[in-house]
């Protein structure tokens, strides 16, 4: 029986490292055969979420035995650090995961920082610098939050759920919070009075958009912009079982079907019916239905929405969306965590942000850097954003505010804003990149990459430019959805379920204004997905599996997000989430935020497969230990 693994592992790593990309005859045959056997993966375990090669099974068993041995021979507390302090990565890759745990348990031979510092030092010296490298919570935690939570679900028990005695001295106010590199001691902000805060602005560069009005050349868009085909998963959570809700969904689907079949009379009649049905509906379903109905109407009557959106309005909506629900906070938080870890030991760092907006992601990172052991690095930020209609220099303003923050926290800061109609207009030469031994680069993109799929070659250009930046890390946050398939009706159905779930999660949000504006924010996306086509349809969301395929093809390999980021994200949700249904899941090193187990956004991190950064210089008093 042929096993279809994809349905159970939406985010599984393809075995790209084994099944290479060779295309010569015999090699290709072998490749196909191997691919069919899933490159020798144990099928039974693969279905259950574990990737273990059949040929590795004995070795994996031995590692399990070894670990069992160790656990049996120590007291309870002896292994507790494995649960508390160790950061776990990618548990699906059992072999690597177990190996990491084993190396964690091998006692280090010296201890320069005292009991709390051992693992932080031992780790780099054992040289395990691959993806499953075990960091420690000490050096890599971005924000530690007080986890007193009013989680309604656990109200009954009336007591602290996530009880960890080592985390009791953290301050709620610290959001953006303080980085922790010693679990027991309070940390001092490094006094950098010896280095003057250097606020350096380059004037905004306006990039001429070379991608002007090419709609005649590029229509119909070639298959590349429709996304890489994949066995698609269609996760659905029904949160509204009302009779009218179901009738509404039926009407919407029937209308979309009418549009698909170009039966516009039918579609038109249904759109009107939907209007009536929507009024009698309550809550999220009514709003979602209204937005979808409007989008359908626009498509039917060819009243396409104006594109691009007035920038100042979209900024406002963005801010409200940030406040109303945890999606953007989660995105920023998890991406920052990966960036912070990648910047460890670097003296000069440069973040290139493809999604600058109001720069809300950066204060937290800057504060974490400020509190880093050994002092903050020099921090350079390049913010990229679309032009504003009123000629205001919004990117400059954002930069100014961040510069002021940098001054108060004594972080050397440099800023540059770039205006671009499309990320594809960027070239590496514009960015004043410095040698990678001097300055470490992080590239960050939150909900921006999918827009590039609207024009052929856009995403490839951007990937190649990113590679030229030689980043330590590339952090990407995207919607977890299939809104870019070739069939309109499928896109409609997918997005209907996706946005229904999103809107449902918003219902729990507190503030009226934030909630309403967030709905408008999402409504614009709905309109784009449903009513627009070609280069105008920029909300081309794809699943993390599809993004993985693209990134791997473009020469990137995953950097796994670990249990520390996972836990912190979970705690963040407990504090800020308006509803009880939010949850974080880990899959193949990515973190996903979902509502009632329906994943909605995914954070992933990457680096160029052939790039290895220069290791941080070893302090001279340490010697290599084998």
């Amino acid at each position: 029986m042929k096993r279809d693994h994809n349905h159970l592992q939406p985010n599984s790593d393809p075995s790209y490292s084994l099944c290479g990309s060779s295309s010569t005859g015999k090699a290709k045959l072998w490749e196909e055969e191997a691919a069919e056997q899933d490159c020798g993966m144990d099928e039974d375990l693969a279905v259950l979420g574990y990737k273990v090669k059949t040929s590795d099974m004995v070795e994996v068993a031995q590692k399990l035995e070894q670990l069992d041995e160790i656990m049996c021979s120590v007291q309870d507390d002896g292994i507790s650090h494995l649960a508390f302090e160790t950061v776990h990565y990618n548990p699906s890759d059992m072999s690597t995961y177990l190996e990491s745990m084993l190396s964690e348990l091998i006692p280090p031979t010296f201890d320069p920082f005292g009991p709390s510092g051992t693992t932080a030092v031992a780790a780099p010296l054992t040289g395990a610098l691959d993806d499953s490298f075990l960091g420690t919570a000490e050096s890599s935690t971005l924000t530690t939050l007080d986890f007193e939570s009013n989680n309604r679900k656990h109200k009954k028990s009336g007591k602290q759920i996530f009880e960890e005695s080592s985390c009791s001295d953290y301050d709620l106010k610290a959001i953006p919070g303080k980085a922790i590199y010693s679990q027991s001691s309070q940390t001092q902000i490094h006094d950098s009075s010896s280095t003057s805060t250097h606020n350096n602005f380059k004037s905004e560069k306006r990039l001429k958009s070379t991608s002007g009005s090419h709609s005649d050349i590029f229509s119909p868009p070639p298959p590349a912009s429709y996304g890489i085909p994949t066995d698609s998963i269609r996760p659905v959570v029904l949160v509204d079982s009302q009779e009218n809700g179901i009738r509404l969904v039926h009407a919407l689907m029937a209308c979309a079907e009418g549009v698909q079949q170009n039966n516009l009379n039918l579609a038109e009649a249904l759109v009107r019916q939907i209007g009536f049905l929507a009024i009698s509906q309550a809550g999220a379903m009514r709003k979602v239905a209204t937005y979808f109905a409007e989008a359908l109407a626009r498509r039917i009557y060819r009243l396409y929405p104006q594109n691009p959106l007035d920038h100042s309005l979209s900024d406002v909506l963005h801010i409200h969306f940030y406040e109303a629900c945890p999606y953007l906070k989660f995105a920023h938080f998890t991406a920052n965590q990966a960036i912070l870890e990648a910047f460890e030991g670097k003296k000069r760092v440069h973040v290139i942000d493809f999604s600058m907006n109001q720069g809300m992601q950066w204060p937290a990172l800057m504060q974490a850097l400020a509190l880093r052991a050994g002092g903050p690095p020099a921090f350079r930020l390049t913010g990229i954003g679309p032009p504003s209609h009123d000629n205001s220099d919004h990117l400059q303003e954002v930069g100014w505010k961040l510069a002021q923050l940098a001054e108060t926290i004594h972080v050397e800061f440099e800023y540059r804003g770039f205006v671009a109609n499309s990320l594809a207009d960027l070239d590496a030469s514009m960015l004043d990149l410095r040698p990678s031994e001097v300055e470490a680069v992080a590239v960050n993109s939150v909900f921006e990459l999918h827009k590039l799929l609207a024009r052929p070659g856009g995403i490839d250009k951007v990937f190649s430019v990113v590679e030229q930046m030689k980043p330590e890390i590339v952090t990407i946050v995207e919607q977890e959805a299939n809104h870019n398939g070739p069939v309109f009706l499928d896109r409609f159905t997918e997005s209907l379920h996706y946005y229904s779930t999103l809107f449902d999660s918003l219902e729990g949000s507190a503030s009226g204004q934030d909630k309403v504006m967030s709905e408008v924010y999402l409504g614009k996306q709905i309109c784009n997905v449903v009513a627009c086509e070609g280069v105008d349809r920029t909300e081309r969301h794809e699943s993390s599996t599809q993004w993985r395929n693209r990134l791997v093809s473009a020469g990137f390999s995953p950097v796994h997000l670990g249990s520390n980021a996972f836990k912190q994200a979970g705690m963040l949700l407990a504090l800020f989430a308006g509803g009880d249904g939010y949850g974080v899941e880990e899959s193949s090193g990515c973190l996903m935020l979902g509502w009632h187990k329906r994943p909605l956004i995914t954070t992933s991190a990457w680096k160029a497969a052939n790039y290895s950064s220069s290791p941080p210089p070893l302090p001279t008093e340490f010697r290599r230990v084998d």
Binding site: P10, M57, L64, K153, S563, G570, E586
Partner: protein, 344 residues
């Protein structure tokens, strides 16, 4: 001590296929990290390590699934699995709750295991098992994502099970054509098996008809240390110590293992005599250290004149039903299929 552990490991490896041994040992390792001596549970790490899968309204191997929020107040979610039909190989996503069409459609309410603390309805191991049950029994399966210990003690899991049962019973689209009633079976493994018993009790008390109970390696216990517990302690993945931990985490504080939740036919249990309890299929693994309690459960049902079939799988360990790579698996699946199929 190290030597006897070595013996344990070797013995253990001889009775299960290697990949099963790897799977269950990996769980054991993880679970050891998650349970803290002070009775608290590392929930974050547990959720991080648990391999999960989303629902999928696209049929795979003839089964599609979707999640339903049954109770918003407790965030009670359930995952529903349905067979794709020849007539409708690609179900319309707007019609996930389309009425079942057959004369008789068993609806199996499934409670996943995890000793009340681990796993979820969307855990890969249970998603896989539930999918199997659909094809096996030509049934609709509803897997309940009940609240877990230690954050939520007794009776939360039973409350959630009962809520799910009421919900299922009140869905017109789940009614069999023959009698416009929902044909309900309760099934579960480990703690899920325990939940089956207690939810069935509530059902009987309130006059809700349950057609049958399926208990796979159900989790029961008591204050007494039984022979099997002493003999098999630490031998096949499970220790008495961890069993004790989970009961302490689930039972109300201050209660011991003779609480009726843990020991339904013990000193604080209630008699089922005179009650129309559903027929039961109880599967006991011969290498499960708590088998004496499971066998006592079967005896308790027999003494109360209840219909019960015991499947004693001599060389089976816990978790044998998670992988289709052994005879016990196939035997048990056959029996389940017969058990559910026998009502027409």
């Amino acid at each position: 001590m190290a030597r006897s552990n070595e013996v344990n490991l070797n013995e253990c490896k001889m009775v299960v296929p290697l990949n099963t041994w790897v799977l269950i040992s990996n769980f054991k390792l993880a679970y050891n990290l998650l349970r803290r001596p002070d009775g608290t549970f590392n929930r974050h790490l547990a959720e991080f390590l648990d391999r999960k899968v989303p629902a999928n309204a696209n049929p795979v191997d003839g089964v599609f699934s979707f999640d339903v929020l049954i109770d918003r107040g407790t965030s009670l979610l359930s995952r529903i699995y349905r067979p794709a039909t020849a007539e409708e190989p690609q179900p319309n996503v707007a019609e996930l709750e389309k009425p079942v069409t057959a004369e008789v459609v068993p609806v199996i309410i499934f409670f996943h295991g995890g000793s009340f603390a681990h796993s979820s309805a969307n855990s890969a191991i249970y998603d896989t098992l539930c999918r199997r049950l659909v094809g096996l029994c030509k049934a609709v399966v509803l897997s309940v994502n009940y609240r877990r210990a230690p954050e939520n003690r007794y009776p939360c899991a039973y409350d959630d099970g009962w809520t799910a049962l009421k919900w299922v019973n009140s869905r017109p689209w789940l009614q069999s054509q023959k009698d416009s009633k929902v044909h309900i079976y309760l099934a579960g493994d480990s703690s899920g098996g325990n939940i089956v018993h207690h939810v069935a009790l509530r059902a009987m008390e309130s006059g809700t008809h349950v057609l049958g109970n399926i208990l796979l390696n159900p989790m029961f216990g008591g204050q007494e240390r039984t022979e099997s517990e002493q003999r098999l302690d630490g031998k096949y993945f499970v220790t008495l110590r961890d069993r004790d931990w989970y009961w302490r985490a689930y039972l109300p504080e201050g209660e011991d293992r003779d609480h009726h939740a843990c020991n339904p036919f013990g000193p604080n249990g209630r008699s089922l005599e005179g009650i129309k309890f559903p027929k039961s299929l109880v599967v006991v693994a011969g290498l499960d250290l708590i088998q004496d309690w499971q066998l006592a459960y079967v005896e308790g049902l027999k003494k109360a004149d209840q219909e019960v079939k015991l499947l004693y799988m001599e060389q089976a360990t816990i978790g044998f039903y998670l992988l289709p790579n052994n005879n016990h698996f196939h035997t048990v699946m056959d029996e389940i299929s017969k058990f559910v199929g026998s009502d027409c």
